[in-house]
């Protein structure tokens, strides 16, 4: 076990865990931030996507010891009150079915729009291809990203 100082959603927190613990489980089991989901544990589904200094990463394969001072943002911290343009667009398009993948989808999309505010459809597909949706909401996700991008 070792102590780690982390910045999560703008808050400084300290956890005492095994250094190899993936950030996913630090968030879920130690910080009660359960919006970030477990789907595969091997970086193949995107359910666990968070931002590290604004860049989308798969938290299930990110050891807590490698985070250092980089800022972690989770779905709970994407906006203070659920008003991020993507969250709004997701509601307008009524994207979710079961919903389990959607936090990861939104986090991937948010990182995309942050670096590329008006992505082409191909760029959307490329950026989102690591996020599985078993329910098949891909078309609505694409539409919601376009809507949010169009608003700038």
């Amino acid at each position: 076990m070792a102590r780690f100082q982390l910045t999560v959603n703008g808050r400084d927190v300290e956890v005492d865990v095994d250094p190899g613990t993936p950030v996913l489980w630090v968030l879920r089991d130690h910080l009660q931030l359960v919006g970030t989901k477990y789907g595969c544990g091997i970086a193949r589904c995107g359910a666990c996507t968070i931002h590290l200094n604004g860049v989308a990463v798969r938290s299930c394969v990110l050891p807590v010891s490698s985070v250092g001072e980089q800022a972690i943002t989770t779905i709970e911290g994407l906006s203070a009150d659920g008003t991020h343009p993507l969250q709004q667009a997701w509601l307008e398009h009524d994207v979710p079915q079961c919903g389990y993948c959607q936090a990861g989808q939104i986090m991937s999309a948010a990182a995309l729009l942050a670096r590329n505010p008006s992505p082409s459809d191909e760029e959307i597909d490329a950026a989102m291809n690591g996020n599985l949706c078993r329910c098949g909401t891909y078309l609505r996700i694409r539409a919601a990203i376009r809507t949010a991008a169009a608003r700038g």
Binding site: G20, C98, G99, N129, N131
Partner: protein, 756 residues
């Protein structure tokens, strides 16, 4: 307006009294009600709630809580079922809060998600619940105003008396309404008067989903909760022999390691007790990561199972199921299926004289189709919270069939059902997998042993390799055409491991004079379970691919060919047990033909495939368009026509059809679980290929046939014909018919040819 007798269970109305401080009971993070505005003003909570019946609570300020009875797994019943209640209650949807009802089938009847039956079977009861509550509110107003009941009307949560000009919100009358006698009869609205049903309402949990609020069992924690995992044999056909847990126990955070047995000896299983591995090694610790690590240090010996027989109480009485010993492999399965298919099957239906008709045919077409086992791969892996004490058990988990697993739990824990509380959490997908609730029993046994609340978590690998798969299937079709290209005889022989996919009374049965349907099944120790549109998910697709080929041989347009057969089934049906309505079946084909511009407005350079199917009481047809770009098929558009009766929530229904189309394309192209000596060849998404963003169709247009027929299923019916629409379009693009699912490996060969 129709008057109907209320058949709601009396217990639905048992307690009609004030629930003081009900606002606290809700514990909602987002009290936004069902408002469609993305940034709604929160609803003000009432001081008091009045329970009118088990489905409806009304606050003194007019805010209404509607209970949604069924488990939610993404089909959006948590929105659509309360919409049905709200319609008859006549309330403003913006002032409705939806809550998940507790599991209590004595009150809520069928709390089961499966068979596309939720809305169909809930329809009348939900309407009655709303109408009965409205009636009681009107009674309260009539009494308060001293006017005849008939003169009290309602509109959007307000009671009116036109003659005297009086009006009152439901909240003002709620306390009196709660004491009114339960009506013997209620009036139901005419379909034409619906104002909520048939209008698109947003998913009531979308806001929680997009902000990451805890919704799933996986997200729940309890004071003092431990984390548990179970280790099952890596191979089908093996069982637990012994465990050396010395190293694992010494690892940080590990509390205990012990074997569990999920059925007591001699227990007679029910239909949903499918449990591939009833003996497991449980490992329990403080955190998920600690348990995940420590389980790798377990040294477990497995041994081969023997041939066994189990007793299973099914829908048609108790059956004996044989579980053969041995380590099975996919190539052996294929060989066994081919061998069995060459023998006569069990005749399930026979019309006319098929043998003679085949002998005199001008042309006979025979084709064989196969499909592999499929894993459900719900995004939320199997998990469950359990807290079992000496005299109670509390479970919270993703479960489609709580009623069945409650009985299993009662038998295994030795507790009466009323001491078992099952909370139906929102499920991260289900697709049939979560009808088999063995994990509730596993979690309960672990909690009982640890004397603490536990969360059982399956890793993705555990989830994918535990069995309960869609079966492997095989079907041989034969069609006989006469000189004029007319279909004179039809023969299907279908089987699978370990069940047959046949629906003998389904189209084109009834449309052909000479018809023969046979089936067979082979034993296996690999377990299966319901998978979105069981049996239909194979037979629907291959039948529609075969008919496409028959239409071509007959020199006919595939839609016109089917319509001719349906016309025959309508005017001169063969046999009496045909399970489809040829008029509604033809209706979706005509609708998809017109909506897609089939034959008149075919997009240039685009290859089109069509298919239609009936299952789970509804009709679905698709036209799928694809182009070949750089040697790879790209699906540009899918046009779908659906007849499922009244559509409760059109945009959500559209979402479900889109999902079924994507799911169908994904499984047709990539879905496969294969085995080598009992070992599943795929354990995670690195090699089990699932459809991804870039492979999804670019557009899906969904059209619902206008209808005032009571609603039927939607989760499953659009799924089976997708396989055929894709296969038929791929044929048009490549000139090659594909008979073996999944298709992608065959396309790779084609792609290499065209680009190489």
């Amino acid at each position: 307006m129709a008057t109907v007798k209320t058949t709601l269970n009396r217990r639905s109305f048992l307690k009609a009294s004030a629930l003081a401080g009900g606002g606290l009971m809700l514990g909602f993070n987002w009290l936004a009600g069902c408002q469609t505005d993305p940034t709604p003003a929160p609803l003000t909570l009432p001081e008091d709630w009045f329970e009118i019946n088990a489905f409806v609570k009304i606050g003194d300020n007019g805010v209404v809580t509607i209970m949604s009875p069924n488990p939610e797994f993404g089909q959006n019943v948590k929105t659509s079922m309360p919409m049905i209640v709200a319609e008859e209650l006549d309330v403003d949807w913006q002032r409705v809060i939806v809550e998940q009802a507790p599991f209590n089938p004595a009150i809520y009847t069928r709390q089961f998600t499966g068979g596309s039956q939720g809305i169909r079977q809930g329809w009348t009861g939900l309407r009655m619940a709303g109408a009965a509550a409205r009636h009681m509110l009107r009674q309260a107003a009539a009494r308060a105003w001293q006017v005849p009941l008939e003169e009290v009307t309602t509109h959007a949560g307000v009671l009116h008396h036109a003659a005297s000009g009086r009006s009152a919100g439901y909240g003002e009358m709620a306390s009196a309404a709660a004491t009114m006698p339960v009506p013997e009869e209620v009036e139901l609205k005419d379909v034409a008067d619906f104002t909520i049903i048939g209008t698109s309402r947003k998913n009531v949990e979308a806001r929680k989903i997009v902000t990451g609020q805890p919704l799933y069992a996986m997200d729940q924690y309890r004071e003092g909760m431990l984390v548990a995992m179970v280790v099952h044999p890596g191979r089908f056909g093996m069982r637990l022999k012994s465990v050396d847990d010395t190293a694992a126990r010494a690892m940080p955070g590990i509390r205990d390691v012990f074997p569990i047995q999920t059925f007591a000896d001699g227990y007679e299983r029910n239909y949903f007790d499918t449990n591939t591995f009833p003996e497991l090694v449980a490992i329990v610790g403080d955190t998920t990561w600690q348990v995940m690590n420590a389980r790798k240090a377990l040294r477990i010996e497995w041994e081969p199972i023997e041939d066994t027989e189990i007793r299973v109480a099914g829908f048609g009485g108790t059956q004996t199921v044989r579980i053969p010993a041995g380590l099975e492999s996919t190539p052996d399965h294929a060989a066994r299926m081919a061998e069995q298919a060459a023998r006569p099957g069990r005749v399930v239906r026979r019309d006319g004289n098929p043998e003679a008709a085949f002998r005199r045919a001008a042309r006979v077409i025979e084709r064989t189709y196969t499909a592999p086992f499929l894993a459900h791969n719900c995004m939320e892996p199997i998990n469950c919270i359990a807290h079992v004490t000496a005299d109670r058990a509390e479970l919270a988990g993703p479960i489609q069939a709580p009623e069945f697993i409650e009985r299993t739990l009662a038998a295994r824990l030795g507790l009466p059902p009323e001491r078992i509380d099952i909370q139906m959490t929102r499920m991260g997908g289900g697709f049939g997998r979560r009808a088999y609730g063995h994990y509730l029993v596993e979690a309960a046994l672990i909690s009982q042993r640890m004397n603490a609340p536990v969360k059982l978590i399956y890793t993705r690998e555990d989830d994918m390799t535990f069995g309960v798969y869609r079966p492997a299937y095989h079907a041989t079709y034969r069609a006989a055409l006469d000189e004029a290209g007319r279909l004179i005889a039809f023969h299907v022989k279908a089987g699978g491991i370990p069940e047959s996919p046949l629906h003998a009374n389904r189209f084109p049965a009834g449309a052909v004079d000479h018809y023969l349907a046979e089936e067979w099944a082979l034993d296996s120790n690999i377990t299966i379970g319901a998978f979105r549109a069981p049996r239909s998910n194979f037979i629907g697709g291959v039948e529609q691919a075969f008919l496409d080929e028959v239409a071509e041989a007959a020199g006919k347009d595939p839609i016109a060919f089917r319509l001719e057969l349906l016309e025959r089934a309508r005017t001169r049906p063969v046999g009496e047990r045909n399970d489809y309505d040829p008029v509604r079946f033809a209706g979706v084909l005509e609708r998809v033909r017109d909506a897609s511009g089939w034959g008149t407005d075919d997009p240039p350079g685009v290859h089109r495939g069509v298919a239609a199917y009936f299952c789970h009481n509804s009709y679905a047809a698709h036209v799928l368009d694809l182009v070949i770009e750089d040697g790879t098929p790209v699906i540009t558009r899918v046009c779908s026509a659906i007849d499922c009766g009244i559509v409760v929530n059109p945009d959500a229904a559209t979402n479900m059809v889109e999902g079924a189309v994507v799911d169908g394309i994904g499984n047709a192209l990539y879905g496969a679980m294969t085995f080598t000596d009992g070992l599943p060849d795929h354990r995670n998404f690195d090699t089990y290929r699932m459809i991804r963003h870039a492979e999804a169709p670019k557009a899906i247009d969904v059209h619902f046939v206008e209808s005032d027929v009571a609603p039927t299923g939607l989760g499953e019916p659009p799924f089976p014909p997708v396989f055929a629409a894709l296969a038929n379009a791929l044929y048009r693009a490549t000139g090659t018919r594909l008979y073996e699912q999944p298709f992608a490996p065959h396309l790779e060969a084609f792609v290499q040819q065209t680009t190489g």
